[in-house]
């Protein structure tokens, strides 16, 4: 490789080269068009203007903010605010529409479900999970089993007033006695009633213990869970004959439940969320696949508080 400063001319092209040569291959010094150079200068001028107008240069503790005052955070805030303004009429319409009538307005219902999906991710996933599938002690909201009712109005009431909130008179309230701990039943009686529950839920065949338990059930449990054990939504008493168990359907878990009782709590949201958001959450939960139609019978529709057991 020769490095010679005197320019040489490549015979074939008439272009000069610097004398660099690798295995007979020479690098030509083809001149750039002048306008290309000017284009390069123009980009430099643009870059200077850009640096002045927009946030650009890192400083010791801060960075240059730019004369336009633009920032990505500011842009996001502006977008969010614009979205809020855009959504305001929809939220107002949802807040003004009785939840029972929401289903009659597909556009509003759709917006409510989507809004509820977003709100659920913020307020509800901590207990019910991101897919609303719940976990032990926290109900799965996708299924068709409801403690307090699965129509839109009932769900909205549950979210609004919560379950077993001591500071709220209208909260959903019911109390299962701790039959074993409080010595209402003996250990043998509890075992018998557990055997009965295992039979009515179809997990065991009838036996001597379950037959003894049937009478104990009728005396102690049927007042809330019903004579057949189908439960009652008036008092949030679960159906003991279906395939869904909030805490577990094995004999040990049922024994613990009867012995100690369960007192699950859900916070009320009426002091934290506005009407529209609660309505959206109700619409979303209803849309997950287990939502029920509003009860046709006016008598059967509980008006919010269902604390008082029916005769």
């Amino acid at each position: 490789m020769a490095d010679d400063e005197t320019p040489k001319i490549d015979a074939a092209t008439g272009t000069q080269y610097k004398g660099h040569e690798w295995d007979g291959i020479r690098e030509l010094d083809t001149p750039l068009p002048r306008w290309w150079l000017w284009t390069f200068y123009a980009t430099i001028v643009f870059a200077i203007g850009y640096c002045l107008a927009y946030p650009a240069l890192p400083m010791l503790h801060d960075y240059t903010r730019g004369m336009l005052g633009w920032s990505s955070r500011g842009a996001l805030e502006k977008e969010l605010a614009a979205r809020e303004v855009q959504m305001a009429p929809l939220r107002q319409a949802i807040a003004a529409t009785d939840i029972g009538k929401l289903a009659g307005q597909p556009r509003l219902m759709q917006a409510a479900v989507e809004g509820g999906r977003a709100a659920f991710k913020v307020h509800c996933v901590q207990c019910h999970g991101s897919g609303a599938a719940g976990s032990r002690g926290y109900p799965n909201l996708n299924d068709d089993d409801w403690l307090w009712g699965g129509d839109l109005t009932s769900i909205e009431t549950t979210i609004t007033d919560g379950i077993r909130n001591p500071d709220h008179a209208k909260t959903r309230q019911s109390m299962m006695p701790a039959f074993g701990r409080d010595q209402l039943l003996t250990a043998a009686q509890v075992s018998d009633v557990v055997a009965h529950i295992r039979v009515i839920s179809g997990q065991d065949v009838a036996n001597a213990a379950s037959q003894r338990g049937a009478q104990i059930f009728a005396d102690n449990c049927a007042v809330c869970h019903g004579p057949a054990g189908k439960g009652s939504r008036q008092v949030g008493a679960p159906n003991l004959t279906d395939g869904i168990w909030l805490y577990g359907g094995d004999a040990d878990t049922i024994r613990q439940t009867v012995w100690n009782s369960r007192q699950g709590v859900m916070p009320r949201w009426n002091d934290k969320l506005d009407t529209a958001t609660i309505r959206m959450l109700a619409a979303y939960v209803h849309s997950l696949g287990g939502g029920e139609a509003a009860p046709v019978d006016a008598q059967a529709a509980p008006a919010g508080n269902a604390a008082a057991p029916q005769p």
Partner: protein, 480 residues
């Protein structure tokens, strides 16, 4: 285009190119191609094509807002983009074919840069006069006359540029509607922006950048040059016949000493990229063949045979140089390489036509809910949920039926139904040219033979007279 020997400049000053008007076979061919391409470009969006009440009636329409591409009887949906990919592959192989056969014909005749530069140069000649007048005017100091001519020329260029940029937007919306909206100021901002940008680029690239685009900016000359071989037709100066150059007078005085080239420089004068073809094949040559027209005319005038500059393959040039006879042109055009390209090109075209003819205009896709994967119902059955999309790609509403295939005891219902309305089949009316989105719940018994995960298929069938069906594999998940 090359720096003078020994100047040592890193940057090259722009050399003025003032191509002279010329007439001849290739000039007329260029006129015809220019007319055809411009008519196609400006006229296409205005062709109407009746597709019934549910689809636009513009023959060629790229409907970005609704994600549809219409081309006469063909309608392409976004998921059928492979047809566009196929067209691009055909365009690529077409380029290989054309280039290996007739060299840079695309550059010389059909490239928009060539066509619009040609048009702008014609305007220039109309206003400023031919080559010599243009050079005189360029070198003249600024005067009222020069300013007036420049302003008129730029205005005409600007008008053409505006019409060019403005025509582009009509491919993306209903042309008559958009034109009305454009003039009343109610068109979408992007329409004005696109028109503005394309007007500016047409004005600058066609009026001022011209051959600089071909020589410095465009990658195609490099690609095309790599695809030429010794059997490709290129514009060739028959230097064995032309050298040594000398005027008619000199040749008469010294018979036998001079070749046919009389060194009149007409080939250089007419060249739109300002090169001298007598230096041999070079990157600046777009093979527009105007130098052939110019040289033929001169040769006729001096009574020498035409074809001193001509389309010729490198093989033939070597053959002629050694006194041989060139082969028939068809023999150069038809050779294994070009025939191979032609076969591939035709094959892809026919395959696409077949696929277009056989494609079904009903489509189903299903996506399973992943969170939760399954839900146990109160009666013990297991429910999975799916978002099912039914595509109706015809321009009329169609009734369809969705079923599951291969899932025993399964029942279906949608989020608009209750579970007690569940059935083995779901009927839906899918609106014209659109996608119906169904949320479908599938419940099946908890106990099933085999694994917890079971494969099955969603099937859709159009229940109108024309029919059509599609299937989509899916999975049903149960607790372990």
């Amino acid at each position: 285009m090359l720096v003078p020997a020994g100047s040592g400049d890193l940057y090259e000053k722009r050399k003025g190119v003032y191509p002279k008007a010329v007439d001849g076979f290739y000039r007329r061919l260029k006129w015809a191609i220019m007319a055809a391409t411009l008519v196609i470009y400006w006229g296409t969006p205005w062709i109407r094509w009746d597709r019934g009440p549910y689809a636009p009636d513009q023959a060629v329409l790229v409907d970005l807002a609704h994600r549809r591409f219409y081309m006469f009887a063909i309608e392409i949906w976004p998921h059928e983009f492979y047809y566009v990919a196929g067209l691009l592959i055909m365009a690529g192989i077409g380029l290989f074919l054309v280039t290996s056969a007739v060299g840079r014909a695309w550059c010389g005749y059909a490239c928009p840069q060539t066509v619009w530069t040609d048009l702008f140069q014609h305007v220039e000649r109309f206003i400023d006069g031919d080559r010599n007048a243009q050079i005189r005017l360029a070198n003249a100091p600024w005067s009222a006359d020069k300013l007036a001519r420049r302003l008129v020329k730029w205005q005409v260029w600007l008008l053409i540029s505006f019409l060019t940029g403005g025509a582009w937007i009509f491919y993306f919306a209903d042309a008559p509607t958009l034109q009305r909206a454009f003039w009343t100021g109610t068109a979408a901002p992007v329409a004005y922006a696109a028109t503005g940008v394309l007007t500016a680029t047409t004005f600058v690239l066609g009026g001022f950048m011209r051959e600089q685009v071909c020589i410095y900016m465009c990658p195609w000359p490099r690609i095309q040059t790599a695809m030429l071989d010794e059997k490709s037709l290129v514009v060739t100066y028959r230097n064995w016949r032309g050298e040594k150059r000398g005027s008619v007078k000199k040749a008469a005085a010294h018979p036998g000493e001079f070749g046919d080239c009389i060194d009149c420089d007409q080939c250089v004068a007419v060249c739109p990229t300002g090169i001298d073809i007598r230096n041999g094949p070079q990157i600046g040559c777009i093979t527009c063949a105007l130098c052939i027209d110019a040289c033929d005319k001169v040769m006729e005038q001096v009574g020498r045979p035409r074809g001193l500059i001509d389309y010729c393959t490198e093989d033939d040039a070597n053959r002629e140089r050694q006194g041989g006879v060139p082969r028939p042109i068809l023999q150069s055009l038809l050779r294994p390489r070009t025939i191979g390209y032609l076969c591939v090109w035709t094959g892809i075209g026919l395959a696409m036509l077949f696929a277009l003819g056989a494609r079904t205009r009903v489509d189903i896709s299903a996506q399973q809910d992943r969170n939760p994967i399954f839900v146990r119902l109160s009666d013990g059955a297991i429910r999975n949920a799916y978002t099912v999309k039914l595509r109706n790609m015809e321009a009329r509403p169609r009734p369809m039926e969705v079923r599951v295939d291969g899932l025993q005891g399964a029942v279906l219902w949608t989020d608009a139904m209750a579970r007690d309305q569940a059935m083995p089949v779901i009927a839906a009316m899918v609106p014209a040219d659109s996608v119906a989105r169904l949320r479908i719940f599938v419940a099946a018994p908890a106990q099933a033979p085999g694994a917890a995960r079971q494969d099955f298929r969603f099937t859709v069938r159009a229940t109108d007279r024309e029919g059509g069906h599609d299937a989509e594999p899916a999975r049903f998940e149960r607790p372990q």
